[in-house]
Every structure is written in structure tokens, then in C-alpha cells.
Symmetry: D3
Subunit: 172 residues, 6 copies
């Protein structure tokens, strides 16, 4: 059995992320989704709590008929020491065999620790981009809803996450 | 839908814990298992990492034919401030409706925050007791294997967790 | 009896802040002044220690004939988790009924926690603005003294706070 | 003007503490009461939040007709480094001239930093002792009410602090 | 070239420690002395600062004609996560090849990380024992001076460390 | 005997730093080199671990025939409270008499604590500048090797530090 580990902040989880999950599940038996910066929430860069992100991802995966019993979620708070970060992840997470990432720092740290790292194919980062999506939400531009799985936009509305982001930004 | 939250340290997960999980799943639709003191490992009181605990619990639940898609795992590091602990849990965890606990401090903190707390029936704490089980492991007394689900004892052997505990204790 | 809570960093306390305090004291019986980022000092953004800020505010209030026995000061270090910040404040502070703030994040966090938040009337933020005042101090432009209560400018001179700010900025 | 600094945990504030405050106010012009271990609450050793302790002390001083405008409260979280603790206190507190303490570590640390330390006369520590008082509360022995100022016992009842302590201890 | 790493708290550095250093220097080319719990000082268990410990060890090694250019000192604060501690040490320290320790936890953690660990011969832990030495100092029993290198007892007297320990203990 | 303390981040140690060390050793008997932000590594601003920095500096000093037995290295993690930073350094470091620095904040903090601070002569900060050197490394411009001691460039190549910096930057 082979397990992949996919780290991200997922603020929010968008269609590019979903594509990576699907691509990875064709290559591994089980997938650990690491929700990074888990202590963060209610900021312009990190509006959603770790729990909210876990919930929106689960719903999106369910909506794509992905078997949830193959998925692990591991929220991980920042540790502020890159030299030990890999081992921090290792201690909070079930065992894993391979890292899925295109992030240069993440790739470097896991490679220095001797892990196999695979790069998923690039998605279009001009639009499938959490920063861009948050900006659209703040500007009250509904186009953001097309960039995330339907379950994610429904969930964000349900918890009034769009309103939260706008009020933190000083609008409304 | 009603979600329960069951916090513990699970060092290790034993048959008493399993009984609580089963009892709870008859009363809620989904269950969040909070793995507390997630930053701890390799000590006499907390020998296993959060990831190892997550893995041993999953295997035990699978072995009991519990549907894993109804279960959430949330490892939570200590925050050392009881007054904000409930809100820390809340932010790391998907939404929950009711707390399952017999721990006086946990019960008190969630009640002060306005949550419903239900006490599962007591199991025999003289033997289904993680401290007692760890002591048996240190003393190399195989009786501990009868106090945990078969998958847990298999897993602990697989990761040589019994050996780890004995070597930390200064034996072997 | 009704208590208000007014959070700020007060680097330094200026006439706009004083106006808010006076306005609030006509609406509440007692006022808690929360000195945020209490661990910070000796930086361009946060030149004064929490203790110095407490002292300059007290003197300013005394100079305005405000009854000090109605005022509480609560220095609060940053906790870096917005999701628990309100509860952190709650635990360091005497009980309070209403929040006085125009800061979008502060307003949002207290509202999500179920608190009443009132917005004091806006003062002229172009000049009653701590960032602007610190810049004037660094540039050795005496105009800053007109933007703070007389007791505050006297206190800053007394502790040579203006000189400190200039030397941290690399001048003098 | 001469300011004293009196550090303690005040879990709870008792008649011995009150006696020290009164004795000190005959020797200094203003008094800073440092509420230590401010981050702690809801434990057997530290049942009350910093805010609750601030409130119970204020009421006790008011009840003794002490002028509150001469008193400063400074809640200070633990910093876990004795070598910098004095400077931590110094930065959170208005300026002070003399320390009031009989605690050997506190006395030593302030003396090493060059401060004057004065020892107030000993009170009867067999009964005016916070540990003893907490034990009486847990045992539901009303005698504890005679060991604290009347305002403190009233306040503890008002916030159901006695009930909290008993439930944390596993009683009730 | 082969480098050893010798971790300890050295509160204080005694003749048993010195014997380990000498034994090790016959087996490695260079030696890194890790001063653990570096943030601690002024307590009964950890009376000396990391800097004081570095200084007392250097003087003792000089007094034994050990070439200081072969020795590295690395003060390391506690990180409270055993699972990452080895990597924390690795990041604060020059590269090392072998661990010198008889401490079960230290041995276990470095072995799990794939390091070679060698156990130096046991010294008489009944008397060459920092806890015992601190107790003698507190009891004002001069016998402690025979258990540490002459330079260490001279240094402790020079900084009045014996007096500090007694005053923290509540004597003197 | 007179000891100097020279704090820096040394990311990496360059010829300007070496010049300061030489200049200082003509004025003091021993020199403590404080390696600041010791917890940082693997970022664009702080690519090297504290241990790597200690090792590159030692080799550079050896290469300049500086007597290593006169040099102390003290890695110090950030403490995020300027008001106690000097005392943090003091507790991690052997005793020192004078600070060598041209950094405005460092100079200010040590002066406020009553220390003598001396400014070494300025070197040409346009080229002897760690930020500039890191940029050259990222751009794969070999000119950086002329700006650091030969031992430092050899060491950085040995640990593939140039490659690390480029991969963190997203190149290669």
C-alpha cells in the first residue's frame, strides 16, 4: 500500500486542488491532506479555520464520489522552524511514502529529508488561485463560485464566510 | 445530522475507548475523535505520536466494521490556557453538537462554553486504563495485549512501540 | 452597571483616542482599556512598552479629570490565533458588556462571539493617527505634540521616547 | 513619589494578601499589583482567570476603603525564563521603585537586577494560604469564607467559582 | 574527521562529566557539548544560566589542558516535542557523527533518527550527580567542591552561585 | 580581561563581517559571536541553519589564523520581545563587557541596558551585504564567491547551500 501526502493551506479549496487530489488518487492507495497554518483564521490571507477547511474539502470530495475512507485529514499549526517542519508533519500524520507538491520550499524540505516528491501537472494558476478567489469574494464578484467545487461555494455561503471576508477587509 | 466530539489522549487506544466509540455511534450520526496533546511523544506518559495514534485508532475501528467515512480525526496540540481551549478545539475541528466525556475538566470547560455534554457509561477503569497498559508494556507483561483491540496490539508491535516504551523507561 | 471594553495598541495614545474614551464614558459606567500587542516595544511600529503606554494613558485621563477608579487597564500579549483571541481577552479582563471599536477585525471577532459592538464617531484619521505621529517624531517635527494630550507629550519627553524612536529608525 | 510592586497569583486573594496591601500603602504612594500566571485558569492550583482575580481584588480593596486610583493591576503571563522575568514584568508594568515580597525566588531575581526588595511582616500562613483555602472549597467546608475578604467570597459565589473548583476536582 | 555530540544540562558540570569528555576525546577528533534546557536558570533544578554553564565548562576543560579549539558549545532551549528534538539539535549544531550518552530518552531518539550512539563507561552516579551536588550546596556542605573540577567550584563562588541556590531554596 | 559581543545573522558570513572580527580582536581579549535568529533556516532571507553558520564562521576564522580558543559562539533563537532581548542574550552567553554593532536597534537596546557599545568602522555595504550575496547566489552569478572568505564559499558548495537557496527561490 502506498500513501501520498498533499500539504496546502486551502484558503479556500478550489478546482485546481480537486484536480490534484483526483490525479494523485490514481497513483496512490490512500491520501493524507495536510491543512497547513492550522492556527490561522479570520485574516485576509487565511479567512477560514482549519475545521472549516476540513469540512469544505470533505464535502467537495464526497461530491466527486471520492471514497472518504481513503482520505486522512491532518491539520498542522505552523512551527516557524523550517529545519524541523518535515519531522513535525511526520509526527502529526500517519505514515506516508510520497509527497505531492509543486511548492519549492515544501519540495526542498522533504527532499533534504530523503522523501520522494512528485509534482502533479500544473493547473491554470491564473484563475485557480486562492489569493485571486479571495479577492473576488471581497469585491463581491460572484465569478469566484465557478472556481471552486459547488460544495465549497455552498459551504462558504452556509457559514457566511464570504461576508466574514468582506467584513475583515473593512467592507460591509 | 448530529455530530459528537470525543477528546482523549489515547496512549494507547484501548477496549474501553472502543466501547465509548460504539456507544456514541448509536447516538450521533458522525463522530470527531480529538487526539489531544498531539505534540507529545516518546515519553512514559505519551509514548506515541499523534500520527501513530490516528493510525492505531483507524485500524481498530476498521476491525470493528465501523464506517470510517463517519469518523473525523483531529490532532490538537496543547495550548496551555484552559480558558481558550474549547475555542481552540472548535477552530481545529469541523462543527460539533455534543461532547462525549467523563473527564471533569473537559466536561466543565465545554459546559461553561454552553455545549451539551453527555457521559458515556463507565467502563472498568482498573484495567481499561492507558497508564496501567503502559506499565504492563514496560514490564514486558503480555497481558496488555488483551486490553486493547487486536489491531492496536498488532500495530504497536509493527512500529516496535513496546520496545520504544521500554527503552525510554531505561530497560533494554 | 455596564462596562465597555476599548482595545487598541496606543502607540502612542493621541487626542482621537482620548475623544473615544470621553464619548464612551457617557455611555458606560466603567471602561476597560485593553493595551494590545503588549509584548511589543522598541520597534518602529510599537516603540513603547505596555507599561509605558499604561502610564501615558493614565496621565492623559487624569489630566482630563476622568475618575481613574472607573478605568481598568489590561495589557494583552498577542496570541496569533484570531479564532481564540476574544476568549483570550475575556480571560485576562474583568467582565464586560460592550465593545467599543471601529476596527473591522476586532468588530467581526466580537460579533461572531455574540458581543454587542458599538462604533464611536470617527475622528479625523488623517492627523489623529499613531503611524503619522510616529513618523513626525522620527522626522523631529514638533507638530506631533499637538496631536496627543499634553500629558502624553510630556511623558514621552520624560522617558526620552522620541529619542528612542529616532535611534531605532537609525537617526541620531 | 514612590511606587511599590506586589506580585502574586492570588488564587484566591485572602486576608493575608489584604494585610500586605494595607501595610504597603503606608510605605509607598502607589501600588502595582502584579497578577502572575495570568494565562492560567480552571485548574486545581489556578482556578480563577486573571480577569476574575483582578475583579475580586478590586472589590476587596474597595470594601476596605482603599483609593483605587492609587492601585495599578498588571496581569502577566508566565514566560518560563527566570533570567528575563524581571524585565518582562518591567516592560508590562508602569515604573516601580520597590518590590514587596517574601517569595525567595522573586526576592532573588529582583535583587540580582538591582532592585530594592522589602519583606512585609509575615501573616499566619497556616490558614491564610491559598492552597489551604482551595482545599476547603473543594471539600465544601464553609470555613474558607472567613479567610478571605467578604467581597471575595461574595464574588466567588457570584461567578460560581466554588462550584467550578469542585467540578474540576471531580466532585459534583 | 569524526565529531561527537555530548548533550547534558550540566547543573553544574562535575567530575563525572569531565571524565566523559576526556574519554570521548580519545575516540573523536572534535566534540560538541550541547547545553540543554538553555532557557532555564534560577531554579532548584537549573540554577545556572546557559552562559554560566558554558563558562564553567570551558574553564574546567582549560584546567585539564584540553585544546579548546576542538570543542564546540551549543546551548539549546527545550522545544517540548520529542519527535522533532533531534532535528532541532541538528539545526543548531555543526554536523556530528556520533552521540555520546547514557540517557535512555536521548539514546532512543537519536537511534530512531539513524544515528550511532555510544555509551561512555559509567561513573559513580551516587556522588557524581548534579542533583546531589546541588543539595550539598543548599545545605552549605562544602563537600560539593570535591565533586566538581576546581575551576567549577571557583567559578561558582565567583558568581556567588552557591548563595543564589541557597536563596532560591529559601535559606539565607 | 575584556570580552566583546558581536551579534549578527550571518546569512552568510562575508568579508565585511570578517573585517569586523579582526578589528575587534585588536580591542578585546575574547570575542563572543552571537548567531541571531538561530531557529531560522531554508528561507530566502535565512537560508542556513545556526549550525551551518557556526561552522562556516569557524572555518573562515581558522583560515585567517585567528585563535579559535578566544572565540565563543552563541546561537540565539528570536524571542519576539525587544524589551527582554538583551537579558535573553545575557543569559545564553558568557559574560561580556562591550557590544560591537552598527545596528540601530541592537545599539539602542544594549545602551538602554547600560552597556558600552562600540561601532566598528563601516565596510562597503553595497557589496559586503548578505542580501546582495544571496541574490547573486540565486541568480547563479559566481561573483558572490569573491565577497565571502574562501572557506565560506567552499563550505556553501560542500553543503550545496547555493543549490538549496536556488531551489527555495523556485529555480532549478
Amino acid at each position: 500500500m502506498r500513501r501520498g501526502l498533499y500539504p496546502g493551506r486551502f484558503q479556500p479549496f478550489h478546482l485546481g486542488h480537486l484536480q490534484v487530489v483526483k490525479w494523485t488518487l490514481q497513483r496512490v492507495d490512500e491520501l493524507i491532506i495536510v491543512i497547513g497554518s492550522a492556527q490561522e483564521s479570520h485574516t485576509l490571507s487565511n479567512p477560514f479555520t482549519a475545521g472549516e477547511r476540513m469540512e469544505m474539502i470533505r464535502r467537495a470530495l464526497e461530491g466527486s464520489n471520492i471514497d472518504l475512507s481513503l482520505i486522512y485529514f491532518v491539520p498542522i499549526p505552523d512551527i516557524l522552524m523550517n529545519s524541523v517542519w518535515v519531522y513535525h508533519v511526520k509526527s502529526f500524520s500517519p505514515k506516508f511514502d510520497v509527497i505531492i507538491s509543486r511548492n519549492p520550499l515544501v519540495m526542498r524540505l522533504f527532499k533534504e529529508a530523503g522523501y520522494e516528491v512528485i509534482e502533479p501537472p500544473a493547473y491554470d494558476r491564473k484563475i485557480y488561485n486562492s489569493t485571486f478567489i479571495r479577492r473576488l469574494i471581497i469585491e463581491n464578484n460572484n465569478e469566484w463560485e465557478k472556481l471552486v467545487p459547488a460544495e465549497v461555494s455552498a459551504y462558504i455561503h452556509e457559514i457566511r464566510g464570504d461576508e466574514r471576508l468582506r467584513s475583515i477587509a473593512g467592507f460591509s
